[in-house]
Amino acid sequence: MTHVQSTIHVGTGAFARPAEQSSAAVPRSMRYGFLLAAAILLSTSCSHQHTTSSEPKPTAFGAAIVESSGGKQVGQTGGLLPQPVVVQVNDAQGTAVAGALVEFSAAPDVVFDPANALTDSSGQVTTNVPLGGMAGRYQLVASTSDKSHKKVELKIEEIALGYQQTLGRRLNDQYCERCHNPESTVERVSNYDNLEVKPHPFTDGDTLNKISDADLTAIISHGGPALNKSALMPAWGNTLSKSDIQALISYIRAISDPPSRNAGPVYAKN
């Protein structure tokens, strides 16, 4: 047993020597040589032109376009939305249509990947969307043409957070979300149902838009009693800094639905 093994070892060892050397030297230099040559060739030959992605030819036409998922998401400026946007093309009876052309458009700095595609066998098109560089709301438009070549459009709204709001979102995840968000997941069980007085989800614009910045600062810093509300809302003024609390408020304003006055502009196709 040991004998057999040791011979195998000697064997592979002997094979290995030249192999290791050659592998260290030859392919590497070859690779760099290739890279260099390619670099020279490419940098001299190609200019800044983009190949315009050619539009696919539709094989079918629908009558309506609806959102399957991916609307009302919250992303970061310039960043990809956490989930792709999925839309579906239906015919007049509401059945999914495969092979219809869907085109996406939005403010100039929103890039869709892909910007146009044919619906798949379930009538859907999925696209990844990085939002633009400005914080605010973005209106995306998904469109398809019906049989008479009339455009049918679907508008979807998404939110891009700036630096301060992103920080606010982080703080919300850590300190507030468990009580304020009724949605429970296995990883993050919500405490909402356990509270005798129910807090409002921060998206609840109808309620939160009516509370001034000063009052929000007061209730977050000093707890519910500061606004004659329940002590179940704890005071965070000794845990969070002033700028933390500003960040939280800026986040709350950014995600509220309907939008708050300070939510910033809506970026749409112009």
Binding site: I8, H9, G11, T12, F15, A16, A19, E20, S22, S23, P27, M30, R31, F34, L35, A38, A39, L42, S43, C46, H48, T51, T77, G78, G79, L80, P82, D109, D113, P130, G132, G133, M134, G136, G162, Y163, Q164, T166, R170, Q174, Y175, R178, V186, V189, N191, D193, N194, L195, G224, A231, L232, P234, A235, W236, N238, T239, S250, G264, P265, Y267
Partner: protein, 681 residues
């Protein structure tokens, strides 16, 4: 022709007066070029536009007063910043202009730095001294670095900030991916303090792989690692069948047995699925290992490998030896030594062996390997740099196997190769290279990963932060990261803690995982009797948690060893254990505490003291807290929880002495009904 020219010459320069006049005119004309250019310059255009826009606003007066015409400049010699961006971006500092939809007039979003002290190009790149849009924003012949697309902006934070920041999730994720996905096994990334970025994945040693698995499995794995485990971090090398055949042949031939691993099965694997499921659950295997359920969802943690198809991979005898003591096969493993008894080993191994996938190896038929194949396999292993990640007997870890990335964020565009249709910018190059590394040419070795688009953006962001500036930053500007400590507990208890892999989940003195509570001051926090009990039979304190402390079948001796060590060594200087007694509080104090608990501080929002009435679910249950925590700890915790455990979500109520004392009295009185078997010496 010639005559005409001569007559023209005569007319212009015929005599000296004429010549003087014409030359003066030309001279005057050329003098006017500069002012004209200036007058029609872009920045003036934008400044005029700004004044026009501002005129109709209600706060026009203030805005006009703040406005300074002419070229504006932020000059910060120590940062090398000469930024004239504010010549066009006039409204950056005007807090009222947030309603302007576009630059150059919109207010700058709130960031932690002041524009005057920081300039623009520190974060946005581009050419700060330029005064035209195209020169400032784009790369020119004289200026390589264009403005940074918004989606990578966090990379600039990373030039100075070496630790994760709460406001830069993308940069943080990218950096952690560089370590976690093993990029830095092959690519060196030198950090400013001279150290190199370390990988945090733990690719297994392949020196004894024949003990663990079969050649067929290795073949299938090499061809497509994600077919075995969708969560696998092993990339796809796109090997041909022949190459995968030869590498698998070499790895098997090269493998040596680990003493003990090839021991014959000591217990027959038990096929009792119910017992297996329950032992798997009780042992909290899912805290670290994921299994894909019937709906296709991954259930479980990602500390250890995914186990969905583990039965198609491991040999039964290896699995049993591993479950008995994983450290025998891999001394550095993150897996605890559970001290399972024979029947538990049989139950668990039987349960895991049923997790198979008949498709995985169905089409793998390998003939016996020839010596040539083995030799070729070894060459391939060296060629592809397998030993960069895996320990392989007889093959040295290659040095500088792949290009160093310490300054990749400053790589000149002229040195890059672009694919047709790509934008000619560094960020696009990096992102595409990560997405489809082999598309840049033939014979490239970088393997194919399965990153999501968001992960690619994160990685690109973190790589862009590794640049000339981040490498040459004066130490005064750098915001250093606290390095991970290499704390190791001493003595017998220390050995025991390593064996139990406590640090895979718990953090102590800056070292270890973050799945379970930090134990640095556990000795100040808990009562000895409770700890003994808990180590023998861990329950959970937080009903909402799905990850829990497993039971390790420890002997009394081991429990005592651990408890003694924790109680003496992990003491906080801020908590004087004798300052507060465990009993003897007046009924009045306890009652006051109860009122504070339910009234002023409304603790029942998150904690349960009386399981009949309280419902709070996210903090630890406190029904028995009087038998668990020390009074001194509770008291200090009331006064400032973050001082004892930085980052805890418990809000700091900055309680006065009286409230803190009353609450301590109330909580210490919560001993939770009849106590079971706490008979300790």
């Amino acid at each position: 022709m010639k005559e005409q020219l001569t007559s023209l010459w005569q007319r212009l320069f015929g005599d000296s007066v004429r010549a003087f006049g014409v030359v003066s005119l030309i001279f005057l004309g050329s003098l006017a070029i500069a002012p004209a250019k200036n007058f029609f310059s872009e920045w003036r255009h934008y400044q005029r536009g700004y004044l026009k826009m501002v005129r109709n606003r209600s706060d026009a007066n203030t805005l006009q007063r703040h406005f300074h015409g002419g070229i504006q400049q932020i000059w910060l010699p120590e940062l090398g910043v000469v930024d004239r961006c504010t010549s066009c971006h006039v409204g950056l500092k005007e807090s009222s202009l947030t309603d302007v939809p576009v630059q150059p007039y919109r207010t700058h979003p709130v960031i932690p730095h002041k524009l005057d002290q920081f300039g623009c190009t520190m974060c946005h790149r581009g050419q700060g001294a330029a005064t035209t849009v195209s020169e400032a924003h784009s790369s020119t012949l004289a200026w390589e670095q264009p403005i940074l697309p918004a989606k990578y902006i966090e990379s600039s934070c990373g030039e100075c900030h070496r630790a994760p920041l709460p406001g830069t999730p993308q940069l943080n994720q990218g950096r952690s991916l560089l370590s976690r996905e093993g990029c830095v096994h092959c690519h060196t990334v030198k950090l400013s303090d001279g150290s190199v970025m370390k990988a945090t994945d733990d690719p297994p040693s392949l020196s004894h792989i024949a003990d663990k698995t079969t050649r067929e499995w290795i073949f299938a794995w090499l061809k497509d690692p994600q077919a075995y485990a969708t969560t696998s971090t092993m990339p796809n090398f796109k090997l041909s069948d022949d190459d995968a055949r030869d590498i698998s042949a070499f790895l098997i031939a090269n493998s040596t047995p680990v003493p003990g691993d090839t021991a014959t099965l000591s217990a027959k694997a038990s096929p009792d699925p119910a017992a297996g499921t329950s032992l798997y659950g009780e042992s909290f295997c899912a805290s670290c290992h994921a299994v894909q359920n019937a709906a296709g969802n991954m259930v479980g943690g990602d500390v250890g490998p995914e186990l969905t198809r583990v039965g198609s991979k491991v040999k039964p005898e290896w699995l049993q030896a591993w479950l008995r003591n994983p450290r025998a096969y891999d001394p550095g493993t993150a897996m605890p030594h559970y001290r399972f008894n024979d029947s538990q080993v049989a139950t668990l191994s039987g349960f895991l062996s049923t997790k198979t996938d008949s498709d995985l190896l169905a089409n793998v038929h390998l003939a016996d390997a020839t010596p040539e194949q083995v030799a070729h396999g070894k060459r391939l292993v060296a060629d592809y740099g397998c030993a960069s990640c895996h320990e392989i007997a007889g093959i040295k870890k290659p040095e500088n196997f792949a290009p160093e990335l310490s300054r990749i964020g400053s790589k000149p565009v002229t040195q890059l190769v672009f694919l047709p249709g790509m934008q000619h910018t560094l960020p696009d190059y990096i992102a595409t290279k990560i997405k489809q590394p082999r598309s840049f040419g033939q014979g490239l070795k970088m393997p194919q990963y399965t990153f999501t688009p968001a992960q690619i953006d994160s990685l690109t962001t973190s790589l862009l932060s590794l640049n000339e500036r981040s490498n040459t930053l004066p130490p005064s500007l750098e915001v250093a990261a606290t390095p991970e400590s290499d704390y190791q507990p001493a003595g017998k208890a220390g050995k025991l803690m390593t064996d139990l892999a406590c640090f895979s989940c718990h953090r102590i003195n800056g070292h270890g995982g973050d799945m379970a509570p930090d134990l640095t001051w556990e000795g100040s926090s808990v009562q000895r009797a409770w700890l003994v009990d808990f180590l023998k039979n861990p329950g959970t304190l937080r009903p909402a948690l799905i990850r829990r402390m497993p039971r390790f079948n420890l002997t009394d001796g081991e429990v005592n060893e651990l408890t003694d060590y924790i109680m003496t060594v992990y003491q906080s200087p801020a908590v004087d254990r004798d300052s507060m007694p465990l009993s003897g509080y007046s009924q009045g104090q306890v009652e006051l505490g109860r009122q504070l608990f339910y009234g002023k501080y409304a603790c029942q929002g998150c904690h349960i003291v009386d399981s009949k009435t309280d419902k709070g679910y996210i903090g630890p249950t406190l029904t028995q807290v009087g038998s668990r925590l020390t009074a001194a700890w509770i008291y200090q915790w009331m006064k400032n929880p973050q001082a004892l455990r930085p980052g805890t979500t418990e809000p700091n109520r900055a309680m006065g002495d009286e409230d803190a004392q009353a609450l301590t009295a109330f909580l210490i009185s919560q001993k939770g009904g009849a106590k079971k078997e706490v008979a300790k010496k």
